[in-house]
């Protein structure tokens, strides 16, 4: 039997988040009274609610069969790596290199072979980005890598 993993894992993960948030808020923030609720009251209540809801989703799913969704781990990794490269590289590599690199990484999982179109796309997007954001909107961004 194929278990309903999305509901089981998702439900338990949410319940854990809720319990952690409620616990943290309980320990660190003032709960106050009903008349004058403190900073902790609302997060604690929400955390407990999320814990209960997560369990309501997860527990019945343990005894139920379900279908697995079609995950795309390769696509997810490439897209996230592309965003992180851009974010962490922007100040160090400069706008041009960060954009070109991010586009190349992002295009890796695309369902089309060959490097020609990828390089052409990187060049086009980089050109457009510089044109729109640097020259058009005048955002203060370093264009080239910082040397030394």
């Amino acid at each position: 039997m194929q278990r309903d993993w999305p509901d089981i894992l998702g439900g338990f993960a949410l319940a854990a988040c809720g319990a952690a948030a409620a616990g943290w808020a309980w320990l660190h923030y003032d709960l106050g009274s009903i008349r004058q609720m403190g900073a902790g009251a609302f997060p604690v209540a929400l955390g407990l609610l999320l814990t209960v809801l997560g369990l309501i989703v997860a527990l019945p799913a343990l005894r139920r069969s379900g279908t697995l969704p079609r995950a795309e781990p390769w696509a997810a990794c490439a897209v996230l790596a592309s965003v992180l490269t851009f974010g962490l590289g922007l100040r160090v590599l400069g706008l041009v290199a960060a954009t070109a690199l991010a586009v190349l990484i992002a295009s890796l999982p695309a369902p089309q072979r060959g490097w020609g179109w990828r390089l052409a796309l990187a060049a086009c997007v980089t050109g457009l980005t510089v044109l729109v954001f640097r020259l058009g909107l005048q955002m203060s961004l370093p264009l080239w890598p910082r040397l030394g």
């Binding site: 809720g18 997060p43 974010g87 796309l121």
Partner: protein, 494 residues
């Protein structure tokens, strides 16, 4: 200000070139993303949020609204030609629109969709004007307890109505509200869940959250989609000319759909997807030959398209008059206004007439533009369907990154977008709704503030929610919705 004066004020405001251009930009961009399967109105509005920092609040609202209803027009194109709904609201349109396209009547189906969208919008505008005036007068009697109860009603309605698994919807709303707690607590100044990061003092950035959930996560989900096979047909004005029989079948479904849509659109939590489904069901029930449905009945295109467009317009009623967004898209609109320091509420019609009436006028102008431009431009939109997603998404990602960065100039926000995108992708995989998370995120802080205020005023007596007639009504509706969904869950289990 009388309705007539208001409309004149609005028209003269919305027709200024500096404002009109954002209306045109919005509806064009909306149609574009509506046509492209894989990017919805949510993603497009998220992408545009940073741009709104550079323009006035009024122009920002007009542009974002244009994206929203423009996407409804565009969504129908992909639905009819490829059976791939560009937006969830137009999914029903595919049921009869696609069979019409298969039998060589794609042009007529597109004409029916656009004409019905236009009629729906016009009726929506009428209802918006009538309801907004009435509601903003009534809303001056609302107290903190009533606001809190009404917002909770909106959240409960959004996660129960039309949902198969309400518990999953509630969980998303609770998670969103928890995320909304992050940052400095306004009442006490306590820093909640900031873990020493100064970047989190103002809370999670709405732009980063929306871009992560709807930009990055949707891109990941669509990267591996194979290129769409070219649409064979060439569609021009001549193919769009309806036969006399088509014209006879369209008006009544349009009116029924538009009435349904403008009613359900104004209710918090229901919105345009539900009204298009309801309209389709209604048309099928009243039809003389229900067996034609599913095989290219023009009523099945007309009704739902009118319904989702009128609902898209009346959805602005609670957002603008009460400051309470009824659905996630409205939550984004409200977020955009709050960025500009505008808090919509019952006073806004009087205090900022340009905002409300300018938007109303822009609805009229925008929809007219959509009708007039889209009929001749349909060939261009159809050819847009052939753009492979692989050429678009890397550019979208760069736009997301720079858009988020432009808000505060912090690379922290770009890294946060990656994290939120991953979470959003995993949640969507497990069939949790990220849209409800966003709704909870926007409404959470408003609910907390009003709840605390209500309990402070009542000296800690929770009975205040039942003693005030307005709030008691909302509480009753919440209880009814919860009971109904519990009953449905029990019945399904048997």
């Amino acid at each position: 200000m009388s309705t007539w004066d208001g409309l004149l004020t609005g028209l003269s405001f919305a027709l200024q070139p500096g404002v009109l251009i954002y209306c045109v930009l919005g509806v064009m961009l909306g149609t574009f993303v509506g046509v492209l399967p894989g990017i919805g109105a949510m993603a497009a509005i998220s992408l545009l949020l940073p741009i709104t920092y550079y323009i006035s609040a009024e122009a920002a609202l007009i542009m974002l609204a244009g994206v929203y209803y423009g996407a409804q027009y565009g969504g129908a194109v992909a639905s009819i030609l490829l059976r791939l709904p560009g937006t969830p609201q137009s999914a029903v349109t595919a049921l009869d629109g696609y069979p019409m396209a298969r039998s060589g009547r794609a042009g007529v189906a597109l004409f029916a969709a656009m004409a019905s969208s236009f009629v729906g919008s016009m009726l929506g505008i009428l209802v918006l004007v009538l309801l907004a005036g009435w509601l903003s007068r009534a809303a001056t009697a609302f107290g903190a307890a009533d606001y809190a109860a009404m917002m909770v009603l909106g959240l409960v309605a959004a996660s129960t109505i039309g949902s198969e698994r309400p518990a999953k919807g509630f969980a998303m709303i609770a998670l969103g509200m928890l995320l909304g707690c992050i940052g400095t607590d306004v009442n006490s100044g306590t820093m909640r869940f900031t873990f020493g990061r100064t970047e989190l003092l103002d809370g999670v950035n709405l732009v980063a959250l929306a871009m992560g959930l709807f930009g990055v996560a949707e891109v990941i989900g669509n990267v591996r989609d194979p290129d769409r096979q070219g649409v064979a047909e060439r569609i021009g004005l001549r193919q769009m000319a309806p036969r006399r029989e088509d014209l006879r079948r369209m008006p009544l479904p349009m009116l029924r759909g538009a009435s349904l849509g403008s009613f359900f659109g104004a209710l918090p939590g229901t919105g345009s997807t539900l009204s298009s489904f309801l309209s389709y069901a209604l048309e099928r029930r009243v039809a003389r030959q229900p067996e034609r449905f599913g095989h290219g009945a023009i009523e099945g295109v007309s009704g739902p398209e009118a319904a989702n467009n009128s609902a898209a317009i009346t959805a602005f009623v609670p957002t603008l008059t009460l400051g309470i967004p009824g659905d996630p898209i409205m939550a984004l609109m409200l977020g955009a206004l709050v960025i500009h320091g505008v808090q919509p509420g019952p006073m806004m019609l009087e205090a900022r007439p340009e905002m409300f009436w300018g938007l109303v006028a822009s609805f009229g102008i925008g929809n007219l533009l959509l009708l007039v431009l889209n009929l001749p431009l349909i060939g261009i939109w159809v050819s847009m369907l052939r753009i492979p997603f692989r050429l678009l998404y890397p550019a979208i990602l760069i736009f997301v990154c720079l858009g988020v960065y432009s808000v505060r100039g912090l690379t922290f926000d770009i890294v946060a977008v990656a994290g939120i995108g991953l979470a959003g992708y995993l949640l969507a995989l497990a069939r949790f709704s990220p849209a409800l998370l966003l709704l909870g995120f926007v409404l959470g802080p408003l609910i907390e503030t009003n709840l605390r205020r209500a309990l402070l005023i009542s000296r800690g007596d929770p009975m205040v929610f039942l003693e005030r007639p307005i709030s008691a009504g909302f509480v009753l509706a919440i209880a009814a919705l919860l009971l109904l969904s519990a009953w449905q869950a029990l019945r399904r289990r048997r």
